[in-house]
Amino acid sequence: MIEKFREINSSFPQTSYVKEHKSSGKKVIGWLCTYVPEEIIHAAGALPVRITGYQQEQELDDGTAYLYVNNCSFSRSCLQLALRGEYDFLDGVVGGSTCDGVRRLFDLWRKYIGTDFHQILSIPRKFTESAHELYLSQVTQFKQHLEEFIGAPITDEALVKSIELYNETRALLKQLYDLRKSDNPPITGSEVLEVLEAGFRMPKEAFNQLLGELIDVLSKSNAENKGRARLAVVGSVLTNAEFIKSIEEQGGLVVTDELCTSTRYWSDPVVLDEGKTPLEAIARRYLNNFPCARMYPSDERFDRIIQLIRDFRVEGVVSQIIRYCVPYAHDLPLLIKKLDAINVPVLALDVEYGSSGSGQIATRVQAFLEMLEARK
């Protein structure tokens, strides 16, 4: 079953779905960062595709020449892929003012790649009512610009349909994650990441279908994954399933995560209630969703991590922070302190984007697992 997702991931970043969608004359819009509402792109009839860097750790000569060596390897990896023409299939890009690496990536993208449609959303760092007002105005503007670009209005009806579709994805992913709460989950952490990866480059209609089948298969299967300790992976953007796999190969049982490519991506549904336009409902959800380390106060994120630890009975946390990922690096001392208070140890790893977790990292994971076992 997992093979089906792997097959989609095997053509990257332009999957067969992307090709098919393009050949039907429709637009493909690249989005970067979980603060960009995908539903709006979907409701416009375009295919939303998540912009990420290379699937593995790469030598980033182009990325480094343009973004300099001290910007995170994620933004350098994304830019390099684009500079080498791998994102030429995109008709537009949408990003947010999320962090320095990403905002500069888009500055250079505009200048040196120059995709037709280019939009940056100002994303407030707070959850206050006025922050919501500002964010809604940004989302509204994005919708208008996209309508102009596509040449057709994005109706409320279409938005509601998209919301329902995406909420279904979220509900299915929650079901998938719930399976991981058991003592011996039927699916590994690295497999889950592969599933999610595929979802970023295919229509959600097809993804939901596959996801439903997968959950069916897993619910009925006798497959069991055992491990030496239950782990959660937290920190910077992570797309290479190899990284999780190398932890699991050493006996770590990765049961959940706080990653913008997984839990933080799907965690909250859009709530359509009376008196709210679909756009308002979308904006509310995206700003209030499981926060990135960029948001203030950090406790919002820490509390959610602690909740995950309880729900999934996590015994140890692996923090993987890409070098120069400042929001996460700044939060690390505070996070360690919070988790220490509930007696959960943290393994803090400095990584480069796309790392496979081999070499020195593997050695440190091994020592961490031994330490966790000794505590039992």
Partner: protein, 421 residues
Amino acid sequence: MMDGSSNKIEAIIRACSVITRMNKALPDVPESKNMYYKMLTDYFTRVQRAKEEGNFLAAHTVFFPTEILYAMDIVPMHTETTTWMIALFTGEATELVTAGAEIGLASEICTPHRGIAGAFSLKNALPQPDAIVWSNLICDNTAKSGELIAELSGSPGYFLDHPFQESQQERKYLIGELKGMIDFLEHQSGKKMNWDKLSEIVAFMDRQIELFREICELRKAVPTPFSPLGFMDLLTMDYFFPGQPEAIEYLETVRDELKAKIAAGKGAVDNERFRLMSLFVPPMYLMGFLEKLSHEYGAVSVTEPFFTHWGEGKLDPNKPLESVAQKAYMIPEVQMYGPMNDTKIQRVADLAEEYKVDGAVYYADTGCRHTCALIKLVKDTLSDVDIPMLTLDSDVVDPTMTSEEETREKFEGFFELLEDY
């Protein structure tokens, strides 16, 4: 808190008084220099004595609306610049940066922020602030550091969220954020916002910006009358003294000195050979050396696109809070915040022409991601108008990054290149 440390503010005050005494003994020290060190001494003395004088002390990050603190009679302490000054005057910054690393901050966190967090983790290094106020201008480090230092110092904090772009809604949001901060400060300090005083400060600030622009104009003269790295002193005016009468007096003195020099046909260096554009901040611990090198080679920084050129606009004392928000968008450094569009980047090439620049120097601070990410863009822009650029890997605070020797080697190579160009 970790073990005690020596009081860094006292060390800065001592260093300033030594410099003042030395300057008095020297001939030809311009009046503005003496004023500058007196202002620094007064600033840090206020910080140092805030507690005993019963004043409310607020630590704040860079590009902060300090006008509001002054209007509320709150003593400001600028966190990043204090770390710079510790590096510049006392050479004791390494201790703070190391302390920052010890509390778990990665080496990728820039040294001014690692240093300031380190300082707050050490007993006695800095006075305990009554509040920490910070904003996300101008990078993720500023956005994140306040929360950590509030935790370390045990002081209450307010985060001022500065929007990314300039839409009407964003200005409205910023004004709301400013109001929120005023409420916070009133609550914490028991002091009331003095709106008349804020209006007065805004009027002064507008004058300050005007004087800045006048000084920039004067620097266009050939030879340029303004000292090779004097722009760093200018920056301090807005960092420490926005809308303060002493800053106006200082800037007027600087302006008059420049006018006198131009009238006498005198340049800042004896034999002006290279007119430079500076981008970002030179290493503080090399300032003395760079000054010497400038005189040796007749090299003078005549313009700093993202440091001394204020954005367009005017402040209105009748709308004080709106003006404080407006000013945030006009700050020279903030011109590189928000999306870097063609107009903003073209300004770099225009300034090179207006100021008859021979070459540009980009101080690539290892910890400063958002400025380094512009190196390629600036270089390509300048190359279109045939201006070569030297990129100097460095660090604002950490002296282990670059030695005088290698810096000299690079500058000399660059001067050779300019000579042949």
